[in-house]
């Protein structure tokens, strides 16, 4: 499978293409079109061990609330925006329109002050779903895609933590 990844680290921001192929027991890796001697094993739900030519790295991964991946390797941190091949269809105005069921996550700890959509509603990309208040500021949480509100997991007045799932849009 081919991934287009924008990696941001202390050295700046660059776009790369990573190709992972699984042939039976063997996984082949290519980076920017060049095959490399690398192996990767998921050792825990959020940790991946990577070997590149005998050099060992351990990378901890989590998804931040805006959807980018946060990667940590010892003291070094990176963030990665992944353009999934399965989501390459349907780009609009150069931006990526996400595909499939989307989880709407709370971007910060706070309180749900208003719910703007109901289960079953048809929503447009960018339409407000809920309003979360944090530190005296009201933030509208918008739908990342056009679709249908499949589930609402919070009620008005409920406290939520950063990263908590608020709703699903299918």
């Amino acid at each position: 499978m081919k991934f287009e990844i924008q990696l941001t680290g202390a050295g700046g921001k660059r776009k790369h293409v990573v190709e992972l192929e699984q042939k039976g027991e063997v996984r082949t890796v290519a980076l920017d079109g060049q095959p490399i001697d690398a192996d990767a094993v998921q050792i825990a739900p959020n940790a991946i061990s990577v070997m590149i030519g005998g050099q060992s790295f351990e990378i901890h991964v989590s998804r931040s609330t805006d959807g980018t991946l946060k990667l940590q390797c010892g003291p070094h941190e990176f963030s990665a925006d992944i353009i999934d091949p399965r989501a390459w269809r349907g780009r609009k105005h150069g931006a990526v329109e996400v595909e499939g069921r989307q989880e709407i996550l709370a971007p910060m700890p706070g309180k749900v002050v208003r719910v703007l959509a109901a289960v079953g509603d048809t929503v447009e990309a960018g339409q407000g779903l809920l309003v979360v208040e944090a530190m005296k500021m009201q933030n509208e949480i918008r739908s990342p895609k056009s679709g249908k509100v499949e589930r609402l997991l919070v009620k008005e007045g409920q406290n939520v933590n950063a990263g908590e799932v608020l709703a699903w849009v299918e």
């Binding site: 890796v29 998921q42 030519g53 790295f57 390797c73 003291p75 700890p109 990263g163 799932v165």
Partner: protein, 505 residues
């Protein structure tokens, strides 16, 4: 010995105390607020009881509810930990009324030593050196200014009711005195409703060095040596170590003697800490007494081999201290860093939230006193201390190397932590030489960040491969992006169950 101890606290210190109870074969009872149901101190306790909503004043600060739990669960002793009610004399009084032993000093000793002014008066009586100044508030600004002139500038104006740096003014010279006096008094009035201030000599670049004392109910009071706590950010300790890089055996004996004299003069029983400021010429001046266990007690434990919480319990149970303090000399070196859920890149703003993944360091010379676990949500209602990472070794150098190694192993994702701050401190040349004072860290943080060494070759490639693999693994699960969402029950399973139910008579 006690049968059952109520732990009137939460977080890492509650876990620390209940571990000591378990080792002693004593049952432990935890209390928790509504947001702490899933906290580690509740999970590990023998018994746990809800005492109210998240707000501390409705839960952890409610003496009446603590007493109800203690009686209901049949506790014969109570340990207050640190913070919350640990230095509130109303708690030992309530315990005494309820017939429960308070693991700490008496209410009277707490009052005689705990407040800044009372402690200072006691120190003068016990001939413990204090920073030159007044122990009583001064009403008249002219009188105060004359005193400042005789003492020599710089001087410090301090609110009687003060704390946390509020109502404090450094006066560099005589010309600045009048306006500094006005500012300090009005700030004290606004912050504490009490405008009285007192005056003391301002020490330039002092170290904060404290002596741990233990006193039993049979008249024995001992010193367990010093802890150096000069690395502070805005008056909050950040890194602590024992022994201090500047304390000689002779100074240790002199400071220990002074602390023990003070403890005796105050009729102190149990564990306490006498804090001193130490100037460049190694003169020491009494600062204040903490009438409780300190956050940084593990560094003393590591270099003395003693368990302070167990000794606190033994003393409260009326046991004699089993050693004389002449026998206690520090062995090796220990250092502690306080791990906080706060963002050092964003002005140390608290960063509560869910811990998505966590890897704890282990190995030689490493101790981790924590109150957290993977999957737990750090509540926003309390102090964001996650725990303490403590290293010990044969020398200060080995200890620092171990601490750095452990910090590299420590990974926590989902929340921001102050780990990067320690990487900076533990590689700073001044820190490595032990040239620290109470303003050192604030000065360090005011300087621009030194360039972070670049990652070794291959790290970026490894990160890219990890990102791709993790992303594809996540996409293959039924719910993209997260593994936490409860999946809807399988319809096959539901149908199977329904069919089985149909066959039941």
């Amino acid at each position: 010995m006690f049968r059952k101890i109520l732990i009137a606290n939460r977080g890492e210190i509650a876990v620390r105390i209940l571990r000591a109870c378990r080792e002693l074969g004593i049952k432990s009872v935890s209390v928790y607020s509504e947001v702490d149901r899933a906290s580690l101190h509740v999970r590990l306790a023998d018994e746990a009881y809800l005492i109210g909503p998240a707000a501390s004043r409705e839960s952890y600060l409610r003496i009446d509810r603590l007493m109800d739990v203690a009686k209901k669960s049949g506790c014969d002793a109570l340990h207050p930990g640190y913070g919350f009610l640990a230095e509130n004399a109303a708690l030992p009084r309530a315990c005494a009324d309820a017939g429960i032993t308070f693991i700490g000093p008496s209410a009277e000793a707490m009052e005689a030593m705990g407040s800044k002014t009372a402690g200072k008066q006691l120190a003068r009586r016990a001939e413990v050196p204090t920073v030159p100044g007044t122990s009583d508030p001064i009403e008249n600004p002219e009188e105060a200014q004359a005193l400042a002139q005789s003492m020599g500038y710089p001087v410090l104006l301090k609110a009687i009711a003060g704390g946390g740096g509020k109502g404090m003014r450094v006066v560099p010279n005589d010309a600045a005195f009048a306006s500094a006096w006005r500012d300090a008094a009005s700030e004290a009035l606004n912050a504490f409703g009490d405008q009285r201030v007192f005056l003391e000599k301002y020490l330039v670049g002092p170290r904060h060095i404290e002596i741990q004392i233990l006193a039993d109910a049979h008249g024995r009071c001992v010193s367990l040596g010093e802890r150096e706590c000069s690395v502070q950010r805005r008056h909050q300790k950040v890194v602590e170590e024992a022994p201090s890089p500047v304390v000689t055996p002779e100074l240790r004996r002199k400071m220990g003697d002074a602390a023990v004299r003070l403890g005796r003069a105050g009729g102190y029983v149990n564990a306490g800490t006498v804090e001193f400021l130490v100037d460049a010429n190694l003169n020491f001046y009494f600062l204040e007494v903490n009438t409780r266990l300190q956050v940084e007690h593990p560094v003393t434990e590591q270099v003395t081999g003693l368990d302070l919480v167990k000794l606190q319990i033994a003393i409260a149970a009326g046991h004699r201290l089993p050693f004389a303090w002449e026998t206690i000399t520090p062995r090796g070196h220990a250092m502690e860093v306080r791990l906080y859920a706060e963002d050092p890149d964003n002005n140390f703003f608290p960063s509560p939230g869910k811990i998505i993944s966590r890897h704890a360091p282990t190995g030689p010379g490493i101790r981790l006193d924590e109150g957290v676990y993977e999957g737990w949500t750090v509540p926003m209602d309390y102090d964001p201390l996650l725990g303490k990472l403590i290293a010990w070794g044969n020398s200060r150098e080995e200890t620092i190397a171990r601490l750095r190694r452990a910090l590299d192993e420590y990974t926590i994702m989902g929340i921001r932590t102050n780990v990067s701050l320690f990487r900076r401190i533990l590689t700073d040349p001044e820190f490595l030489r032990g040239e620290i004072h109470t303003k050192w860290l604030d000065e360090l943080l005011a300087r621009p960040h030194p360039p972070v060494p670049p990652p070794r070759a291959g790290t970026e490639q490894a990160a890219l491969i990890a990102a791709a693999l993790w992303h594809s693994a996540q996409s293959n699960t039924s719910t993209p992006g997260s593994t936490e969402v409860q999946a809807t029950p399988s319809r096959w399973k539901m149908e199977g169950r329904r069919q089985q139910m149909d066959h039941m008579p």
